[in-house]
Symmetry: C2
């Protein structure tokens, strides 16, 4: 008997579906967290998340995460978790593609008033 094939989630395929920067798209869920892909370019705003760590994994390109007292440089295959409450600013000189994980409903800017609306794709 051949088992039915359950589709995996291919992140490159998901990333091909949109072009906006700094607009995370939900691709799956894990224990009440949203798993997202995002395209970034340029400087984001300084912000922090008082209630949650912030998971970054670089799929393509390069970014830096500026902290108030240091900087993290990330390329493909690099991961960094910004601890909760720590101010940070992601910056990408050229377009980069990231995998993000945050609890459902976390505003990407740290502020619900300015946060991107996250669609599932």
């Amino acid at each position: 008997m051949t088992m039915p094939v359950v589709p995996a989630i291919n992140l490159a395929e998901k990333l091909s579906l949109f072009s906006q920067h700094w607009s995370p798209k939900i691709v799956s869920h894990y224990n009440g967290n949203e798993i997202m892909v995002v395209k970034v370019k340029g400087e984001f705003n300084w912000h922090s998340h008082p209630e949650t760590d912030d998971f970054f994994f670089v799929l393509a390109g390069r970014i830096r995460i500026e902290l108030r007292d240091g900087v993290v440089h990330l390329g493909p295959g690099d991961l960094y978790v910004v601890p909760k409450g720590v101010e940070h600013r992601p910056v990408a000189d050229e377009e980069a593609h990231l995998l993000l994980i945050e609890p459902a409903g976390t505003p990407n800017t740290g502020d619900a008033a300015t946060a991107a609306k996250k669609a599932q794709i």
Copy 2:
């Protein structure tokens, strides 16, 4: 002023530090979850996690996740979250490298008696 460089976590580098199969190594933490890399080859045991979803992301190679009523085929850049309580068996015909996320203390076999001891690297 040049900011101090905070090291990112390079998963390929972490994977170069060990060779055992089915022995997840903790590389970071996220909100009480362990972020792990693992090398897999062959068939794991059938198991489920009654309390948590199970996050799989393929970094290199190919695996399949057998479910009781289907099968998920994953290659590099593919992600799948096994819902909590769902029986599954990961299988890799050739060595594959994965990123895993599970709440701290989750037994990889679904059973504390047979679970791998997870070291941080």
